[in-house]
């Protein structure tokens, strides 16, 4: 249930993203467009480049949309406030990375309070992501699209069956398992060495 602080527009965006599939794709775009002005506000407020502000804003929208999709956005604040706070911390991260660090009076812990911990962040290091991405290219275009539709965009198996021309749900599910297995086999051959200490 939405709290009184949420507005109709918030509800539309949240419902759209949580619906998954084509709706999610459309409403994430809508979220990006709706608060696009933040990008320029962040740029001037933090004195960062437009390129940096653009990256920070994209990352913030992605983070927020994933929290919404996973039902982790609790609606304690308006969506715009929540997005702006995450975007704010992304901008601060950029400033922190600069060699000539300006003093930023912020506690790093605050950002983590906004975004709930995700088990996937613990199994992989940032620098290993590019390597991981290449494995998806190796399993074939159809498998890659199927896994993305299911695992990222949240299409349900009936939609996937229809979109990809499988005769029914069962075939789509079976194909999903095969594709995951292909990917896991590739991963096990090049087992990513980030295992220890992450359990």
């Amino acid at each position: 249930m939405f709290k009184p602080s949420s507005t109709y527009q918030d509800e539309a965006i949240i419902t759209g993203i949580q619906a998954g599939g084509a709706m999610r794709e459309q409403w994430i775009t809508r979220l990006y467009e709706k608060y696009f002005r933040f990008l320029y506000q962040g740029k001037s407020k933090h004195n960062i480049t437009e390129e940096e502000a653009k990256d920070a804003y994209s990352d913030a929208v992605i983070a927020v949309s994933e929290q919404i999709a996973a039902n982790k956005f609790r609606g304690d604040s308006k969506l715009s406030t929540y997005l702006y706070r995450i975007f704010y911390y992304k901008c601060v991260d950029i400033i922190r990375q600069r060699p000539t660090l300006r003093k930023v009076e912020l506690q790093e812990a605050e950002e983590f309070e906004l975004l709930e911990a995700d088990p996937l962040d613990q199994v992989i290091q940032e620098e290993q992501l590019a390597e991981l991405e290449t494995y998806l290219d190796k399993i074939g275009a159809k498998c890659k699209e199927l896994l993305l539709d299911w695992g990222y965009w949240g299409y349900n198996m009936s939609e996937i069956a229809e979109r990809m021309g499988f005769k029914d749900n069962k075939s789509a599910i079976s194909q999903k398992h095969k594709c995951m297995q292909k990917l896991k086999t590739l991963l096990s051959k090049h087992m990513i060495q980030s295992h220890s200490g992450n359990k």
Binding site: T29, S58, L132, E133
Partner: protein
């Protein structure tokens, strides 16, 4: 022997946060005690992390596309205003020098035409989910959306018609919205408005439909209709096009 499919379901349950405290404790303990189980779980999590990384990358590419479009559209607007000002100056100088009657000046300084406003503000969203990859050609629905993406708007409106007119079709609003946009592409403003009005209200497309109806009136050079539609946007608190609508109302 436990099947990989069973572990698959278990890890998905874990990721979705659907495990009870007891299930979670058993799961974590097994990861500590059983090496094979733990490795399979880890591989599954890494596979999911890879999928998410590629999904994020795609999303960022989409955002980049929107950013570039918005930037280009803002630049065009600025350039067109600048050009207008330059022309006005030249004409003014001409008037002073040649003592030409003020009629010409009025022509150049008059408010922008509805068509000009339309051209300055229109931008079309692409259809989510149509990424030009593996799709079944046999489905009329997929075909209609694909035709839209390819720019074959005539075919697209024809193929979308049954979907936008069936009340029970789950994506009726989606179909009507894109059919409306296709009609805008074809400069058939009245048809566009009729399709936009088929979109369910309130609903996921309400704000976008308000905006495109206003643009459709501008395309049709119906100033009164456009004013009313823009005013409707301004009157709504927090509409995503409030600022643009206010600016356009000032210019009309």
């Amino acid at each position: 022997m436990e099947t990989n499919d069973h572990i698959f379901d278990l890890v998905e349950k874990y990721l979705a946060g659907d495990m009870s405290a007891q299930e979670m404790s058993v799961f974590e303990q097994r990861r500590l005690d059983e090496t094979e189980f733990d490795e399979e779980v880890l591989r599954h999590l890494q596979a999911r992390a890879a999928i998410r990384a590629v999904g994020r990358k795609r999303l960022k590419e989409n955002f980049e596309h929107i950013y570039q479009e918005k930037k280009a559209s803002a630049t065009d607007r600025r350039r067109s205003r600048l050009t207008g000002v330059m022309i006005a100056w030249r004409v003014a100088a001409g008037i002073v020098l040649l003592l030409v009657a003020g009629g010409l000046l009025w022509q150049l300084l008059k408010p922008p035409s509805p068509q000009t406003l339309y051209a300055e503000h229109i931008s079309f969203p692409s259809i989510p989910g149509v990424r030009g990859t593996v799709r079944s050609d046999s489905l009329a629905w997929e075909k209609a959306l694909r035709m839209y993406e390819r720019g074959d708007y005539q075919q697209s409106v024809e193929l979308l018609e049954p979907f936008s007119s069936i009340d029970t079709f789950a994506y009726r609003s989606f179909a009507s919205f894109y059919q409306g946009l296709a009609y805008l592409h074809l400069s058939q403003s009245q048809e566009a408005i009729a399709r936009f009005e088929r979109v369910e209200r309130p609903g996921l497309y309400t704000e976008q439909v308000d905006w495109y109806i206003a643009l459709a009136y501008l395309q049709a050079e119906d100033i009164e209709g456009a004013r009313a539609a823009l005013q409707k946007i301004v009157d709504q608190k927090g509409h995503y096009k409030t600022a643009e609508a206010e600016e356009m109302l000032g210019e009309l």
